[in-house]
């Protein structure tokens, strides 16, 4: 194993295997379930298999070589690097540029040395160099570490060097380079797919865990805290002064907590359809009632978000200028979704709206109208003295223009 020595130096003394290894400062391992570990293991298997093939070829042709002893040393060196790289790549923290470049450099050295060891005349007679399939190791390693592009770069460098080193065009050499290129592209592509799949799975697992935990908390809160808060509000509602105030506060907190545990966690996928009811649910409180169908009101996420924001703006207006109480009604028709927001404030005579608009005092109404117009919808504001004010937002179904715009 003397041939290993120069390569062991490259490996920073890590050529000695240490399999008892999760100790502090010891080897690190891939997290369980990672798609990376099996890929790196299969590269190591490939290297050993390729080495065995190379060894068989070399032993058969050793007597034809110009320098048989140098050939044996080269073979030992390749064996050393195969063992060394297998251990180095097994550690996730080592899969970086220094190791990748060292890997490439070692293989290039073998490619450059091969014609001299075998002898150019012998090579041209058709005797294979003692490297062949083994050369593809770094191509696979680069492809797994960084995708298609890195795989292609490594394949071009090694294939090009091989062609140059032979100084004469050989069909087999070109075929080898082309195969390496294809392997680099294919492996890089598969790795990219694996990484994406793993990320998706991870997201799904996290979402499911969060949802489950949320449901568990919701059940607990519903059975205990909410009952007590509702009771406090109930018992104290007819009392005056501080006790009545406490009861009112308890009622508000009950409604707030209820809507908090009822709302669904966002899925984070913008193209998906979401249930408008779940977005509006967060506005429900002791003073705001939400009336909606029992079944979902699906809208594209972008449309639902804008519509919910417009409802929020209308409710802000209710809190400021209305009587403080608000009612929201969601109606789902095949042609359109209509959301009405009504308050029990003093209201205003019909002419006042135009007057207010003329004086520029309709900021909120205009921001609502802007949002809804972007969705291709309409806003109708109606009011009469003593009957409160009603804002009706109507958004047609089947328009996804704003969402597509947001995607770009």
């Amino acid at each position: 194993m003397y041939g290993v020595v120069p390569f062991a130096a490259l490996c920073d003394g890590r050529s000695v295997p240490d399999s008892s290894s999760d100790a502090p400062g010891g080897r690190r391992r891939d997290p369980p379930g990672s798609s990376q570990a099996p890929l790196w293991r299969s590269i190591a298997v490939y290297r050993f298999a390729a080495l065995a093939y190379v060894a068989v070829l070399a032993v058969r042709n050793l007597n034809d070589y110009a320098h048989p002893v140098a050939g044996a040393v080269l073979l030992l060196a390749m064996t050393g690097w195969t063992v060394c790289s297998a251990y180095a790549y097994a550690d996730p923290t080592w899969r970086r540029w220094p190791l990748l470049l060292a890997d490439l450099a070692v293989v290039l050295a073998v490619v450059l040395a091969a014609p001299r060891v075998v002898g150019r005349d012998v090579l041209n007679d058709g005797v294979p160099p003692p490297s062949v399939a083994w050369l593809a190791g770094p191509v696979l390693a680069w492809a797994v570490s960084g995708g298609r592009r890195r795989g292609v770069v490594a394949a071009l460098v090694i294939g090009g060097t091989d062609l140059v080193a032979r100084e004469r065009f050989v069909q087999g050499s070109l075929t080898g380079a082309a195969l390496m290129l294809l392997a680099g592209i294919a492996v890089g592509h598969v790795v990219r797919l694996a990484v994406v799949a793993e990320e998706r799975l991870q997201q799904a697992v996290e979402l499911e865990a969060a949802t489950r935990e949320r449901e568990r908390l919701a059940r607990g809160i519903h059975d205990s805290v909410l009952q007590v808060l509702a009771l406090v509000q109930r018992r104290g509602a007819h009392l005056d002064g501080e006790a009545g105030e406490l009861a009112r506060l308890a009622g508000e907190q009950e409604a707030a907590l209820r809507s908090l545990i009822a709302s669904r966690a966002p899925t984070g996928l913008d193209r998906q359809e979401v249930d408008l009811r779940s977005l509006l649910g967060r506005y429900a409180s002791a003073t705001v009632s939400i009336a909606a169908p029992a079944t979902a009101v699906p809208l594209p996420a972008g449309v639902a978000g804008e519509l919910a924001a417009a409802v929020g703006a209308a409710l802000d207006n209710v809190a400021r200028h209305g009587g403080g109480r608000g009612w929201v009604l969601v109606e789902d028709d095949p042609a359109a979704v209509t959301v009405s927001v009504r308050d029990d404030g003093p209201g205003f005579p019909p002419g006042r709206l135009a007057e207010a608009a003329g004086q520029g005092r309709l900021g909120v109404a205009q921001s609502i109208e802007g949002r809804i117009a972007d969705l291709g919808g309409t806003v109708r504001i109606s009011s009469a003295p003593g009957e409160g004010t009603e804002v009706e937002l109507r958004v047609p179904r089947g328009r996804t223009v704003p969402e597509q715009r947001a995607d770009r």
Binding site: R234, P293, A294, L329, S340
Partner: protein, 221 residues
């Protein structure tokens, strides 16, 4: 609310939260109702109903042993004509809708104040539909769902008249019957009847559906 001298309305309270249950019972007794039973379990409620003969049952939709809707169906089977006021927190919309379709007289949010609650029990005892704005939204949505769903041929689907739709929308937007009557130029009683009709048609349709289902499944013997 009952007036003095009128025979007390018999009420049963079914709710799994003891503090809540006792509080409601006390309010009802103070208001002149005769609370004949309180229980936290649906099965027990159904068991004691024939013996205690309540006129009105105040029923929480969320019970630990059986669903409130099942308790409601069993109670109506045991005591035809009993009036049931469903109580629930918001957020269980499908349950609320199922309950009124199955024959509940009214529905009230649990966060309603004592005055609103006693008023609702009084109206339930009189056989009037007790609607929250939320329930009106659910009923509107249900009629639209029925209209949009593919219907069996020759079926007589329940439909809202224009006036009923108008009234329900105003209820859903939080207007009182009095305000609605004022805006539409109707009497208070007419508004009440319109609301009642929307529920009646839905309950009838529900019964027809159940019967059809039973016939289809060969369970009608």
């Amino acid at each position: 609310m009952t007036d003095e001298g009128v025979p007390a309305v018999r009420v049963m309270v079914v709710d799994d939260h003891p503090m809540w249950r006792e509080g409601v019972a006390r309010d009802l007794t103070e208001a002149g109702y005769h609370v004949v039973a309180t229980t936290g379990e649906g099965r027990q409620a159904v068991r004691v109903a024939p013996a205690t003969r309540p006129d009105v049952v105040v029923l929480d939709l969320q019970l630990p042993d059986v669903s409130g809707v099942e308790v409601l169906r069993a109670l109506l089977a045991e005591l035809p004509g009993v009036r049931v006021l469903m109580l629930s927190a918001s957020g269980e919309q499908q349950d609320v809708l199922d309950a009124v379709k199955a024959g509940a007289t009214g529905y009230l949010l649990k966060s309603a104040g004592p005055a609103e609650f006693l008023d609702a029990v009084g109206r339930t005892a009189a056989g009037d539909a007790v609607f929250t704005p939320g329930l009106a939204g659910l009923v509107l949505g249900e009629y639209r769902r029925i209209a949009a769903a593919p219907a069996p041929a020759g079926d007589d689907l329940p439909r809202l008249t224009e006036r009923e739709t108008e009234v329900l929308r105003l209820v859903a937007k939080g207007m009182s019957y009095k305000q609605i009557a004022g805006r539409l130029g109707l009497s208070h009683r007419t508004v009440q009847n319109h609301v009642q009709n929307t529920l009646g048609k839905l309950q009838l349709h529900n019964r027809v559906e159940l019967t059809r289902y039973a016939i289809e499944q060969g369970l009608d013997d």
